[in-house]
Symmetry: C2
Amino acid sequence: MERKKFENSPCSIARSLDVLGDWWNPLILRECLYGNTRFDELQFWLDISRNILTRRLAVLVDAGLLDKVAYQTRPKRFEYLLTDKGHDACVVLLALMPFGERWYFKNGQHPIELRDRKTGALVTPEIIDSNTGKRLDSRDLIPCPGPGFRAPKAIMKRRFSEFYSETTK
Amino acid sequence: MERKKFENSPCSIARSLDVLGDWWNPLILRECLYGNTRFDELQFWLDISRNILTRRLAVLVDAGLLDKVAYQTRPKRFEYLLTDKGHDACVVLLALMPFGERWYFKNGQHPIELRDRKTGALVTPEIIDSNTGKRLDSRDLIPCPGPGFRAPKAIMKRRFSEFYSETTK
DNA sequence: CTAATGAGTTGCATAATAGAACTCAAGATG
DNA sequence: CATCTTGAGTTCTATTATGCAACTCATTAG
């Protein structure tokens, strides 16, 4: 059976997972960010099957995260460059780094760190609430219907029971 | 063939993807965060096959992101609660929201928004560099070997050519 | 006594993966 | 000129994983 698609899901997370909810796509983006943008470079660093790499690259180009660009003609050779959307996705991937470091590389023994290309300053990704500037803690949060929410009342009630009872009593 | 595992990969992103690099696991965590923590609730909201849900839940429990807890005996019934690690992973997932909203829900028409459980204030996830407080831009970044980096010199040179030439000339 | 609930199993057809080998064009080498 | 090498993919096959539907099973509710 074909993998389920979330393109019509009423959830930003779900829709993003159509292209990022997979193990190879994020890693391909990572390599492109690291400057390994050609087929054989990607294959070498990721140790991915060539047929899979072919397909994933097509998907990423199709989804608008990568651009397939010829870096020479005669013989035609290509590289895969991050688009704006691709760079935006990379930022999300970088948000995985502190999580991975905390849970899979204890004692600060993480293998890679990020630096500013110009200044060389250490860069540490962190996820905050931009309204308060404070680090996000999922325990404090509650989901509410946003401006584009559309659903039958029964579903609405079922999903936002707390919210619903608060605003109607 | 069995899906490739990254548990020994020298990369925080790759190791995190062993459990988060998939479409169902993140969505299951999302539902648990939203308070839908029981088998049938998860099945209803995610519209996931029951056999797949069973397996994924076992994986998430095994990976330490969820706890399987009996909420009643006679008949024994369970719910799946987020652990500390699970909550930490949720924060990463929430970082997908602005990406999804930007690229899949134009014009601010996103369906869900987050609010502080106590104050009701709007919460907007954003990924910043905690050293400067500025929004992260992947274009400005360069990866460098971190404290736990281990690799043969040839590989080191190949991956960090820019870094390597800078520090040795 | 029958129905409903919650939480899974079991069986099956179809896709996706991993792995390895093969293709193909254009330069480079001897 | 014949062969080698590079870059970028195909093709083939054996396993897995996914999605779907139907089935189980214990316990309580009516």
